[in-house]
Subunit: 450 residues, 2 copies
């Protein structure tokens, strides 16, 4: 409620697809003072994160420093900081390190994290894929498993090392499983002398009756056949009842696996529970049609963190990048309208379809009433994803990277990089502050001089 | 001493410049069984490692999986493993995880590690630059320092965060200091709102009377002026007497700095001390003119791990990549000669000169009696380094990367990636298993949702 010439403050929490679009949508509004908070220094192009985990791309190819995005937008300031709570009455955002920050408008765009459905202890054995850290951890585990298998003489232990389990068959799970199949079939096939990477088992586990349940059934079947051709075993209607150091337990069955990956569920930011606002069953904040919190019109929530029903009774908008992007742009537009004293407009999602890729040259896509599969769908997938990569340089580079790996069947980022910068080689287990289960992953390959 | 048709075994420890050349030099020798051990899965192009630390290149651009190098060389096997000792009498290499391995010829090419001259405790505050892990740790510290300075309101603390100290003015120290100067002058100049990165202090500390002491004095002076133009302060004849959480102590003086980098000294592999063979004062193994250990003709030592005097009384060969490369090729040739029953030849080092780069377009070089400096030297430096990058793809990509950053003054790999894959944001201090000094680096920027 600053009067007169004082600049109005827009506070944006989160530099993902949504938050970034809000700030960019407000470029040029010189009577605004925008602050974007993120606890990381980079914006991440999440749809290609599985490529980092699967050693196809380097982190820098799908991430860009948030500062760089805004270096020429003088009304926007970027801070490496975390939100701790909101004082709605006084319009203050509580931060962890910077104290309280005043706002006239606040945009929450914090995204989501993994949900292990009440089994947080599974995370050590089955990392998910949300951050660059997790992606490089997965890459390290996968590559280390092959290395240890090459040294292993016990056939049972070798089989466990060469068994890869992916839990959850949404787009991320399918992409991970497809890439794992491809790595063992093509990329690594020449590199080992004692093991045959082609005999690696890749198992994709889905609790529901079919993979990619948001797609048409025909496409889901097609994707299953594509995966099987890459050597992936697809187990549907299969519930994971436990994940341990040894592998996964599936009711009465069990599979020994050194590398289990989690792609089964997400939950919104933990911040939500502390706000005293209405949440849906999954913990997302229920918002009005203009993306604001009922009763707190100056606070918007967008992307995975929000529950927005376009029509009463219709399912809420899905947690997809296009939803966050469109909501981000929309919120910026509404703030600009309000600045001019005009009324807000309700948000309308324009569904541009969805796509998922299976391995190096197959995909499925449905949009505008069409359903396509195979190489053409893959090309479409490639174009859309490269187009949306923020930053011209990254686009060209990722294109080049893919063209090259497409020709050569190579994966350029096949590096095992350890967690501790001082230790030459580590066991890929849990961090040190918790008691590590002895068997949680392949045995330590030690630190003596080599 | 395997008779008749049995294949002879060549064991190579270390996949650096030297070890790689030995194994490649033996390609096609079908009566040999070559095993290359390394505790890491990748060969690292060390001369460009400072570019990873300074966010100019991604790890995958200067590293290649050792397996990939040998995927088509069928007589060579690669194992992720560490050497623990040698049983000379029985011709066995002791390994940490695989037990004893027999050899007919053994090549030690373990390289060197940092030496803190008896002050190992300095490492926490002043990491060195030998591995990808260390390079990304340095990158994380440098970028985090700027981020924390942007948030800091206390001028003294802000100055400490914006002070970068590099200890040791050999080529690595000069390259690090030059890049730090450039980052603050050009790369980051637009990105911050409250701090002015151009006011960052970069201090290069050298105990000797001049920087780059192995170069001609004229070139060393030129490099000093180039550094000063990039905003680097050069302090020669300055001894570091302590490195603490606060910064560095220099006898009676002290400098507060959140980011201290170590480029002052190296020591050979710890393995050497356990072998019971003659070492020089620095701990390198003294070898004969054919690179073998006196009294153990079938064991070669090359590269940084070896002390080889071409003429009695002359200084030993320096710890440079070209020495390791030439020795590696030479050892392979001698093994092939011996296979044919011919006598070995002594090693002769062909000195091709030396070069060092200062920032983005200046370098100094001396070769064939010539001394050059400036842009031409930088172009020569660029060509030589890109030419020697192993793997065609990497060369093209690094060229492209540099061309781009040269045009745009950008650094594409400016990512802060945390050590623990599960923690969103961490304090850049020591690993958890040791009691972390509270003040060891900038204060923790926490882990709450953002």
């Amino acid at each position: 409620m600053n009067a007169g010439k004082a600049k109005k403050r827009v506070l944006i929490v989160g530099g993902g697809f949504g938050g970034l679009r809000v700030a960019r949508g407000l470029a040029g509004a010189d009577d605004l003072e925008i602050t974007l908070l993120d606890r990381r220094n980079h914006h991440l192009f999440q749809p290609l994160l599985y490529q980092v985990a699967m050693a196809g791309l380097s982190p820098a190819e799908i991430a860009v420093p948030i500062r760089t995005v805004f270096s020429r937008q003088s009304n926007c300031r970027v801070i490496l900081e975390s939100a701790a709570g909101i004082d709605f009455a006084n319009k203050k955002l509580k931060t962890t390190g910077l104290g309280d920050l005043d706002y006239d408008w606040l945009v929450l765009a914090c995204g989501s994290r993994h949900s292990y459905f009440g089994h947080g202890e599974w995370e050590d054995y089955a990392p998910g894929l949300k951050s660059l850290e997790e992606a490089t951890e997965i890459r390290r585990r996968v590559l280390t498993a092959f290395e240890l298998a090459e040294k292993e003489t016990d056939p049972a232990k070798q089989r466990r090392l060469l068994t890869f389990v992916v839990i959850g068959a949404g787009p991320t799970g399918v992409e991970l499983a497809g890439a794992l199949g491809e790595i063992s079939r093509f990329t690594l096939s020449r590199d080992f002398r004692r093991i045959d990477p082609e005999r690696a088992r890749v198992i994709l586990i889905e609790a529901g009756p079919r993979i990619l349940p948001t797609f048409a059934e025909k496409l889901s079947d097609k994707a299953t056949r594509d995966l099987e051709q890459l050597g992936v075993t697809v187990w549907t209607n299969t519930m994971v009842t436990n994940v341990t150091a040894e592998g996964v337990v599936l009711g009465g069955e069990s599979v020994q696996s050194a590398t289990v990956l989690w792609a089964a569920g997400v939950a919104p930011s933990e911040l939500n529970r502390s706000l005293g606002v209405e949440l849906d069953r999954q913990g997302r904040i229920i918002v009005d049609k203009d993306c604001s919190i009922p009763g707190h019109r100056e606070v918007f929530v967008i992307g995975d963190q929000a529950h927005l029903e376009e029509e009463p009774g219709k399912p809420p908008l899905p947690g997809l990048a296009p939803v966050a992007i469109q909501q981000g742009r929309h919120v910026a537009r509404n703030i600009l309208l309000e600045l001019k004293g005009k009324p807000r407009e309700p948000f309308r999602y324009v569904d541009k379809g969805q796509m998922a890729t299976i391995g190096r040259r197959r995909a499925i896509a449905q949009f505008a009433g069409m359903e396509i599969a195979g190489f053409v769908a893959w090309l479409a997938w490639l174009l859309v994803h490269v187009y949306y990569l923020i930053g011209f340089k990254n686009r060209l580079q990722v294109m080049w990277e893919w063209t090259w790996s497409y020709i050569r069947f190579r994966r350029g980022a096949r590096l095992i990089v350890n967690k501790d910068w001082r230790a030459p080689l580590q066991t890929p287990t849990k961090p040190a502050e918790q008691p590590a289960p002895v068997e949680s992953l392949p045995p330590p390959a030690t630190q003596a001089p080599a």
